[in-house]
């Protein structure tokens, strides 16, 4: 018996579903091999770690709750409403998303148009200011001519 053979039969050894001779060989090997003993200890503890089903108690109000659930299912009003709202939920979410996107686009467009218009006004004012500073507007040109003529 070697470590590989032990590993191949370890679950069978744990739940006693292998022949007794093989089981005795595995037991002997585990007694002398530390790594197989550790592996056996871990796998055995894990394999038997589920709680025993017989220990699980059913809720004492099981029947009362079941009766209520059955009544709810039988009455048409309570059945239709949640299903309808459940079905409408994605539609409502979709509509809200579309509305949000449209509002975003609308606001974005309006703002950008206003900004461009505002920018144009600002630029014109700026140019005029510079122009007047350097005597390039009509009024200033006149004063420039007058200045040269006078000279």
């Amino acid at each position: 018996m070697n470590c590989n053979q032990v590993q191949k039969n370890i679950i069978g050894y744990i739940d006693h579903s292998i022949p007794e001779v093989l089981s005795a060989d595995i037991e002997k090997h585990i007694g002398s091999c530390q790594s197989c003993a550790l592996l056996y200890k871990n796998i055995s503890a894990t394999y038997n770690s589920y709680g025993k089903v017989s220990e699980i108690e059913v809720n004492p109000f099981f029947y009362t709750r079941l009766e209520q659930k059955l009544k709810n299912k039988m009455s048409p009003e309570t059945v239709v409403e949640p299903k309808l709202s459940w079905r409408l939920q994605p539609v409502i979410s979709g509509v809200l998303i579309v509305c949000g996107i449209s509002l975003g686009i609308f606001l974005g467009k309006n703002l950008s148009v206003k900004t461009i218009a505002q920018n144009k006004v600002n630029r014109t004012e700026l140019v005029n200011t510079y122009a007047s500073e350097f005597y390039l507007t009509g009024t200033s040109e006149e004063s420039l001519n007058t200045f040269y003529t006078n000279e």
Partner: protein, 192 residues
């Protein structure tokens, strides 16, 4: 004297008011534990067990006395539990993580002594139980059902064959392969 299953079914078909309650009281434990063993969550298992009885109530006219009432209940319970698992894969995954880190109180520890929740033994048990649950969950569906019915519901191979509508040899083979797969997964887990 205990009513036979055939009589109980007949009374249900005849809309006998007390028959349904009698049926539930007789089989609630069997149905709940079958669901619990596949799902490993008390509240969900209770919900599904209730759905099983609702289905029985609604389709009792279709029941032909060819199989035992318990076999029929097992079949419905297994189908409903598997549907629940398929529908809630993500939920189950998140819950597994919660259980692993000790956040969910409705895990399989509810079969243990509640006073020992934080002892090292309990933490060790919780981890091992989670490792086994993950390994069982990763088995192919038929192997998982056969293995669970055998190991946790303690059904004989013959009973499993009736519930799963398979031959006895197929059940033997399924359980054998399930154990080999589990062995492989557990060895890989503990060797790495």
């Amino acid at each position: 004297m205990r009513t036979t299953d055939a009589e109980l079914i007949q009374r249900l078909i005849n809309s006998d008011g007390s028959a349904f309650r009698e049926l539930v009281e007789l089989y609630q434990s069997l149905v709940f534990r079958t669901c619990y063993n596949l799902i490993r969550h008390s509240e969900d298992a209770e919900d599904i067990a209730q759905d099983v009885f609702i289905e029985v109530f609604e389709s009792v006219h279709q029941f032909r006395n060819e199989s035992k009432l318990s076999t029929w209940l097992y079949r419905i319970a297994i189908n409903k539990s598997l549907n629940h698992i398929r529908k809630n894969k993500w939920k189950t995954m998140v819950r597994s993580l919660e259980q692993f880190f000790g956040g969910d109180k409705t895990n399989n520890l509810d079969v243990e002594d509640k006073n020992s929740h934080n002892s090292p033994e309990t933490i060790d048990y919780r981890e091992r139980s989670q490792v086994l649950q993950n390994a069982v969950n990763s088995l192919p569906e038929n192997q998982r059902i056969a293995f669970t019915l055998n190991k946790f519901d303690e059904l004989s191979y013959q009973e499993i064959a009736e519930v799963m509508e398979l031959s006895l040899s197929s059940v033997e083979s399924l359980i054998h392969r399930a154990k080999l797969n589990l062995q492989k997964k557990l060895i890989n887990y503990y060797k790495n």
